[in-house]
């Protein structure tokens, strides 16, 4: 029977396709690499495939936008160039890619990634032993600059401790007592839930958890979880979801009318990246937190940043874009201040360094734990006449100092 399934012509077509494909692949491999002019090299490891790719791309776009301005003048008479590697959200691949970037490409700085596990692994197994600074720009594990922090790891984004505290402080001002906690069953979900709960409990000791549910990250069908939670009748619900689960949970909240029945807090519930795909069909009245909003504060700087970003990429900047942007600024300023490409001098320069924030004011890289001092915005989802998606209203700002663990607390968890 073999061979009778297709005609000879189809077989010829297949052979043609394979030949053409191998030609393309070969030519890509054999293309000569550009000669090295010893620019400053940043090696980026991030997840550019699968659902997390959307945030990784945002961070990279923000980074590129900042580089465009920086490279006009240059840093120490050089330009900053970068190269990217796709980690496919795997810790093992991230480690190999980071090692390759350090050993073979001799990058001056590493940057990335959205995967907390990968960020921690690269920080401890590549950045530290090889003494290469590593700028973590999306992943939100508080361990990166907390318990597992080290001289070579820096974070330019918020972390779970900050976000959880922002949520806990805001919820403590409200009268709810019986809570249900639910979310993605992975490090980020549990970390954000833990941080929010510890802070809430400390400020309002009479609160109690009446139940918890944890689903696999990205679980497509959340309705059964929501109906089960509603039948337990909690006073309020803390959802600990991230990534694409955010869209899923927001849709289910809308479909079940949950937001009208029970108050809900979800970190990133007011985030642009979450609310944009839902359009005007997102749930109104959900409490959320984030460390960047393109429409708040309404400073001229933030407006200019939004405009420049939109002109370059046809979209508003999300929180990851903001992190990528300030990462580039931190790198450029630190090399300028260090006066050389020496990595240790770069780190010394970066500690306590302040750069201009795209929202106005300055952002400091805290010297004691290498965590960027960022504010958290708390708000409630609402319709807006100006936008075709939900935005946050009644926004309150908690400063970095208010939401970050103190240097003493950091040293305590590091066991020093």
């Amino acid at each position: 029977m073999a061979g009778k399934m297709c005609t000879m012509r189809q077989r010829g077509l297949l052979t043609g396709c394979i030949l053409a494909l191998s030609f393309v692949v070969l030519s890509l491999i054999l293309l000569p690499a550009h000669a090295d002019a010893r620019n400053i090299k940043v090696g980026i490891i991030d997840c550019y495939s699968g659902p997390p790719a959307v945030y990784a791309r945002d961070a990279l776009n923000g980074f590129k936008l900042a580089l465009k301005e920086i490279n006009k003048k240059g840093v120490l008479g050089r330009k900053i160039e970068y190269t990217t590697r796709d980690t496919k959200f795997k810790v093992g691949i991230a480690l190999n890619m980071a090692k390759e970037l350090v050993m073979r490409d001799h990058v001056d700085v590493l940057a990335g990634t959205i995967n907390s596990g990968a960020a921690l692994a690269v920080s401890e197994n590549v950045a530290m032993p090889n003494k290469v600074p590593f700028m973590v720009w999306i992943s939100k594990s508080e361990n990166i600059t907390g318990k597992k922090g080290n001289r070579y790891a820096f974070s330019t984004g918020e972390n779970t401790a900050m976000a959880g505290k922002a949520g806990g402080v805001a919820l403590a001002k409200r009268p709810y007592v019986k809570y249900w906690i639910a979310g993605d069953d992975y490090e980020y979900g549990h970390a954000i839930g833990r941080a929010a709960w510890q802070n809430l409990k400390a400020l309002k000791p009479d609160v109690k958890v009446i139940g918890e549910s944890w689903w696999k990250p990205g679980e497509p069908n959340l309705t059964p979880y929501i109906t089960a939670i509603l039948s337990a009748k909690p006073d309020a619900v803390i959802f600990c979801t991230g990534g694409r689960s955010m869209t899923n949970i927001m849709k289910e909240i809308k479909a079940t009318g949950m937001a009208k029945k029970v108050p809900i807090w979800i970190h990133t519930g007011i985030d642009y990246g979450v609310d944009k795909p839902l359009g005007l069909h997102g749930p109104v009245g959900v409490m959320g937190t984030t460390d960047y909003l393109f429409y708040y504060p309404e400073s001229p700087e933030n407006k200019a940043f939004d405009k420049a970003y939109e002109a370059a990429y046809g979209d508003h900047p999300g929180f990851a874009s903001f992190h990528g942007y300030i990462t580039a600024r931190f790198i450029a300023r630190a090399f300028t201040k260090a006066g050389s490409l020496d990595k240790e001098k770069f780190i010394d320069a970066l500690e306590g360094l302040k750069v201009k924030s795209p929202v106005g004011g300055e952002i400091e890289m805290r010297a004691c734990d290498h965590q960027a001092v960022l504010p958290e915005y708390f708000g409630i989802t609402a319709m807006s006449p100006k936008h075709k998606f939900l935005i946050a209203k009644d926004i309150t700002t908690l400063t970095g100092a208010e939401v970050m663990p103190s240097c003493a607390e950091i040293m305590k968890v590091r066991g020093k």
Partner: protein, 298 residues
């Protein structure tokens, strides 16, 4: 907490409805997978990718048509056809060369195809999360058993049995359906009586993939349409097909019901361990009946 807490009929009733509607989506997707397994003997790992393409196409079509109710219904009709077209091209250029190969080869090949299709989706639609909305009349929820049930879930609940009946009529009452079933049992014999088996296979493949696309289009309003949807569904789909009996249409239905209901009731009884329940059910079924609950055509 947990089992000690009494469960009201409200909670049980709403979990039942939700579990059933979940089972219906799973059934529509897995019936296609099962059909291809039965007729072509191909364990098509790329089935999940076609489901993903169905969802993305539904998004594009509904947006192209203005996103209203009309756009939604047309998307529901056209998106599976887009998937059918993609699968037709794949069948005529690639699969038709491979039918006689051993299963391991086919498994590897369809795995590769899944990766390729995943990247093509990323190139074509980008990495953004997408979302579409059901028509206004299907939005929101109604109170059944005193608990909110999303209207769209109820719609799925009606549609699932219709698809099941349609499939049964198709494979038992139409000529092409009968030929496909015959080819599943003995393809050489079907060829010997003068039927062009190549085209029967092409048809069966495209039909199975059409169902994947339909599942993707139907699920689109309830979730975020994103890369990685393919991986989510394909594991579950294969488990369901395995516990139901390979290539058995009713097996796919039974397997989907077991999967959907154990999940939704598991969430109610022991929410912290809810993830485990459907998989525990699979293990129990396979220990009890290693070849699946219903008769496997393999």
């Amino acid at each position: 907490m947990g089992l000690a807490q009494g469960f009201s009929t409200t909670a049980l009733g709403s979990q039942l409805l939700v579990g059933l509607s979940l089972a219906m989506i799973l059934f529509i997707v897995t019936s296609g997978l099962s059909f291809i397994l039965g007729v072509l003997r191909i364990p098509n790992i790329a089935h999940g990718s076609l489901y993903m393409i169905g969802a993305f196409s539904a998004f594009s079509i509904s947006r192209l048509l203005g996103g209203g109710a009309l756009g939604f219904w047309l998307a529901l009709l056209l998106a599976p056809l887009v998937v059918a077209l993609v699968s037709f091209i794949a069948e005529r250029t690639l699969f038709c060369h491979l039918y006689e190969r051993e299963h391991l080869m086919l498994l590897l090949f369809t795995f590769a195809l899944m990766l390729v299709l995943g990247d093509l989706v990323k190139m074509f639609w980008g990495a953004n999360y997408r979302s579409i909305t059901a028509p206004v009349s299907f939005q929101g929820s109604v109170n059944l058993f005193g608990a909110p049930s999303p209207r769209y879930n109820l719609f799925l609940l009606l549609l699932g049995p219709l698809v099941a009946v349609g499939l049964w009529l198709f494979s038992n009452k139409t000529k092409i359906g009968k030929i496909a079933r015959a080819a599943a049992v003995d393809r050489e014999m079907v060829g010997a009586i003068g039927i062009n088996v190549s085209w029967v296979f092409a048809f069966a493949f495209v039909f199975g993939c059409f169902l994947a696309g339909l599942g993707g289009a139907l699920v689109a309003p309830t979730i975020s349409i994103t890369l990685g949807m393919d991986h989510d569904i394909i594991m579950e789909a294969f488990l369901i097909v395995t516990i139901g009996g390979l290539g058995n249409m009713w097996g796919a239905l039974v397997g989907s019901l077991i999967f959907g209901l154990t999940q939704s009731f598991g969430i109610l009884f022991l929410p912290q361990f809810a993830i485990v329940f459907p998989y525990a059910a699979v293990v129990i079924v396979l220990i009890w009946r290693p070849k699946g609950l219903l008769k496997s055509v393999w």
